[in-house]
Amino acid sequence: MPHDHQNDEPLSSSGHPYRADNDTTLSYWQVMEIAVRELLIEKGHISASQVHEQINRMDARSPANGASIVARAWTDPQFKAALLTNASQTSQDMGFDIGPMHLIALENTEKVHNVIVCTLCSCYPRNLLGLPPDWYKSRAYRSRTVVEPRKVLSEFGLEFNQKIQIRVHDSTADMRYIVIPYQPAESEGLSETELAKWITRDSMIGVGLPRAPA
């Protein structure tokens, strides 16, 4: 499921569909956005370069931010305890600008595996993980993860025996979530910087596991 495409789409040489040209007319809200932006610029409240800088800043957010938090949690038990108690404050103390986001960190253990979904829309901790992957926003992921999480996880290549409890977290309202994956034994003793390379985006959503960097 992580990589489904419609069958009738023409595919590029890499097997991905071409993105359709945006030849359709602007929607009501697109026109509204352009009008408001141009007015703000004309009236001197903001400049076009400030708008562009902000877009670049949003695009620059990446899972590396989340990975450094998890790496610290793996190496510093006190930090991990603080993160599990109040993830927003602890991330801010570490120097991450998480904006108005309210964050909860969820720890995977030998007995519990956490996975995150937003059934109502597509809430995602963008400040720590960057833009969400397309599948995270798909109706299939959003609806199936609460009904048959083990089946969904198996499609991502994860199999859990019945002794491990799956906890599905539905971001229904104001909180955002990050999973602290279970640290692989092979990575014990590595430095925080080295460990951060093991921590994938998917492992912080709960649909993947940390793995040795290639």
């Binding site: 059934t119 609460v146 999480p149 599905v168 539905d170 229904t172 309202a173 104001d174 909180m175």
Partner: protein, 85 residues
């Protein structure tokens, strides 16, 4: 604390997912006060409402169709949608 989610179906911007309405769960933690999204979404003066995380078993939510009955779903629910059991 055990709670049941109200089985109300009002129109509007509701952050209580349909699949959890009428279901019984346990408060996992209290999160704090937030502007009530049911008013906030329409730019109406909104009251602060308490938000909690509720843990439901798959057995409770999906009955006999549950994939693994002891797995759980946790979701944020505003307390005005909850009644004690």
């Amino acid at each position: 604390m055990k709670v049941r989610v109200n089985s109300h179906w009002p129109p509007g911007h509701i952050r209580t997912p349909a699949y959890l309405r009428g279901k019984q769960g346990e408060i996992e933690r209290e999160i704090g006060l937030f502007n009530n999204p049911e008013q906030n979404a329409y730019r109406l003066a909104s009251e602060q409402r308490a938000l909690v995380r509720v843990r439901f078993t798959m057995a409770e939510v999906w009955g006999d169709a549950a994939e693994t009955p002891d797995d759980v779903i946790e979701a944020e629910i505003y307390t005005h949608w909850l009644e004690p059991v």
